[in-house]
């Protein structure tokens, strides 16, 4: 096994002082970037690349690995404590993480998130290290029709979020689909909903929307009232030692696999991975009602899956030179700067550094756990900050982060507008999660559907060809029909035990 000798050799260049230091710095910076609303791993790494010009390749790449892994976990911290997902991938963590914090279990939620993130990252890094070349082939199998079904599958999970008030949920999802249509249409080049504005031509960035909808409303509420639902966190229930960690093992197992597969498929990122894993966890659990109300398994599923996506995204990126996400594209840029051309030749000509980089992905998942354990004591203090300090901090950081994204003031204003929209939606009790998910998945569903129909000369049967499509159709049927069938079964059996089964 040639790759094992490469891995063995690479260990010696990873465990050197400069690389270790850079990994520690990277991980710490990553956690901070992830935790701050508006700042993302993509931006952090993009800003870092010019600084790494003069560094040794592995020192630079170790830092990048740390930022990448750390940011994915960091996003969960404000998601749990403040209901503000630090990154788009943290949105599913809010579902159960914030309710846990409200119940006084913030510390436990942070520990679950940290442990799950570290396990997800480690599994993902191992998949990258050991199975990259065979797994890379999966990335090529996905046809436009498969992408359509995959995004449709993601969209069905929105239905799950609609349970309380379907009409309001649908309004939110339709709003998201509409926002997703803004910009130049890839398929025809036509301008849609751009109102002759130059700034709208490239569409609305998901980070701008997310930060607006999620970070601004809580900040405004914090500033003008003593946010009622945050208060109880001050009285944290610290007795979480009796928590049974073993019950999370199957959750980690399933969510890691979901995360790795989502990572390998180009264009499917951590946000979708987390959502699918959370959804699957809820679907497979007999007690569905606890999800969205502070189920530890929900936090574990979402965080494990979004971190299992990280190294897996690099599989097609490193082996085929196909960046599956914005972060992967920026990391490919960083490799290029250091003279490492992605593709199969990477593993032959630069095997030591390539395997070294993969090992840093693994090592930083461990470092993340250590730094997170120390850090979580400090993070919890965020809740003790007076609202008058916290609110302006959130707003300033959001403004800074969004400006840094593309150096665009238009986007800052847009983000603030979304903030107002978020506030209105909250007052009207319209959920915001379906909006964000529809913006991520809507354009993907539309483009892949149109691309496959275009390729088949308008024949719709292309959608029903091939195993991958049928698997996805099966999954969609399963998620959307299970509740209906269960209800019917309940009715069939009579109403005597109907109240207990839902």
């Amino acid at each position: 096994m040639e790759s094992f000798t490469h891995i063995y050799d690479a260990f010696f260049i990873v465990f050197t002082i400069p690389v270790m230091i850079s990994m520690i710095i990277g991980t710490a910076v990553g956690i901070a970037i992830g935790a701050l609303p508006g700042l993302s791993a993509t931006m952090g790494i993009a800003v870092l690349i010019p600084l790494t010009f003069t560094m040794e390749p592995l020192v630079a790449l170790g830092m990048i690995a740390g930022i990448y892994n750390g940011a994915m976990y960091g996003g969960s911290i404000p998601a749990i404590l403040l209901r503000i997902p630090g990154t788009p991938a943290g949105i599913a963590t809010v579902f159960d993480g914030y309710p846990m914090a409200q119940q006084g279990k913030a510390k436990l939620a942070l520990r679950i998130s940290l442990t799950s993130s570290s396990i997800g990252s480690a599994v993902s890094a191992l998949a990258l290290l050991l199975l990259a070349p065979p797994l890379a082939k999966v990335a090529l199998q996905f046809s436009p029709a498969n992408y359509f079904w995959l995004s449709a599958f993601g969209l069905t999970s929105i239905a799950v979020l609609l349970s309380k008030n379907p009409i309001k949920g649908l309004i939110a999802a339709c709003l998201g689909l509409l926002i997703g249509m803004v910009g130049i249409d890839t398929m025809t080049g036509a301008e849609r909903f751009s109102f002759d504005s130059l700034d709208l031509l490239s569409g609305i960035n998901i980070i701008v929307l997310l930060t607006g909808l999620y970070a601004i409303p809580p900040a405004i509420e914090l500033a003008f009232s003593s946010m009622k639902n945050i208060k109880p966190i001050a009285q944290q229930n610290e007795k979480d030692d009796d928590f049974r960690w073993s019950k999370l093992i199957p959750v980690w197992f399933k969510s890691s696999i979901i995360g790795v597969i989502a990572g390998i498929i180009p264009a499917v990122g951590g946000n979708i991975a987390a959502l699918l894993a959370w959804n699957e966890q809820r679907r497979s659990d007999p007690d569905k009602d606890k999800y969205g109300k502070g189920a530890p398994e929900g936090v574990a599923a979402a965080e494990c899956a979004n971190n299992a996506d990280t190294a897996a995204t690099l599989i097609p990126a490193l082996t085929l030179g196909i960046p599956g996400s914005a972060v992967a594209a920026v990391i490919l840029g960083a490799l290029l700067v250091h003279g490492l051309l992605p593709g199969p030749q990477l593993f032959r000509e630069n095997a030591e550094i390539t395997y070294g980089f993969m090992i840093t992905m693994l090592v930083t998942s461990g470092l993340m756990y250590i730094l997170g354990r120390f850090g979580s004591r400090a993070f919890i203090h965020i809740l003790k900050l007076p609202a008058s300090l916290l609110a302006p901090m959130i707003i300033s950081l959001s403004v800074l982060g969004i400006y840094a994204l593309h150096n665009s003031f238009f986007e800052v204003w847009l983000m603030l507008c979304f903030g107002v929209l978020g506030l209105v939606m909250e007052r009207l009790e319209i959920p915001t999660a379906p909006t964000v998910l529809a913006v991520i998945l809507g354009p993907m569903a539309e483009e892949s559907l149109r691309r496959s129909i275009l390729m088949s000369d308008g024949q719709y049967d292309v959608l029903f060809e091939g195993g991958i499509s049928w698997i996805l159709i099966g999954l969609i049927a399963m998620t959307s029909l299970t509740p209906v069938i269960k209800k019917m079964l309940v009715r069939f059996r009579g109403s005597r035990d109907g109240a207990t089964i839902k």
Partner: protein, 327 residues
Amino acid sequence: MKIIKPRVGMFLKTLSLTMLCSASISAMADYPERPIKMIVAYGAGGGTDIAARTLAPYIEKYMGENVSIVIENKPGAGGEIGFTQLANSSPDGYTIGFVNTPNLITIPIQRKARYSLADFTPIGNVVDDPGAFSVSINSPIKSLGDLVSYANKNPGKLTYGTTGIGGDDHLAALAFEKQTNIKMKHIPFKGSADVRTAALGEHIDLANMNMSEAIADGQEGNLLILGQMGESRWSEAPNVPTFMEQGYDVVSGSMRGLAAPAGLPSDIQKRLEKALEQAVSDPEFVAKAKEQNLPLSYMNSNDFGATLQRLHDTYNAIWTAEPWIKG
């Protein structure tokens, strides 16, 4: 008079303090006496950005002592946001930028843009990345001749992927179709990575990507590059014949050069032009460009300007004959 509650007061104070800290301090007499801003109309970490960041230190080196170039990414709208900002900056030599063809030229042709080609002073061209047609190694098509005969037998069936409507890849395909009287089916994607994925996965028949994007897969034997669209063969791909050699009059590519706003004083322009010429021929830079698969093709200000104008006329003629965006 309303008394501000302490909480609101503190809110405002913290807000303004954080904002102040983040505000940048700009320095304020012979050119250049302050940093030169280089606008890159594409995102940080992308191809143009990395090329710009690799080149900038060498321009600094030849501009003289203590000259610094600050790169500012202004991505969006296919480059239009960055190009517009460059066009509207003051022509004092402190704002220069990367301009990319064909976007720089096609944007004002295909939609109402807030700049035109006349708004720029060309400084020099750096990169000219030739277009290319590639197929999966398993494809029965082995040459441009095969491609034409296959397309003749199956009109409108052969699918080709490009990085988008109105890009150099798409326009080159239109020119090729016109010359050979064939009809192919255009499948637009979001970027070259998507096109490559679709071609490697054999979801499309033909991938139209630039040489720098296809070369690695070509060398690796995953893709067969049928032809390159430069006037002559690129030194890194000496085995790939040009379209011209195969009897097709298609010359196309994506150029990246430096420009400043129109009205740049000629002494400043000369200085920048000279520094760029020296930077592009610096052996250290040439080595780095080779690592990054950048097909260097230096052109001085005059030649670059003339080429841009010629491209404009070509694309304008295509658009007038048959607009690539219907609507």
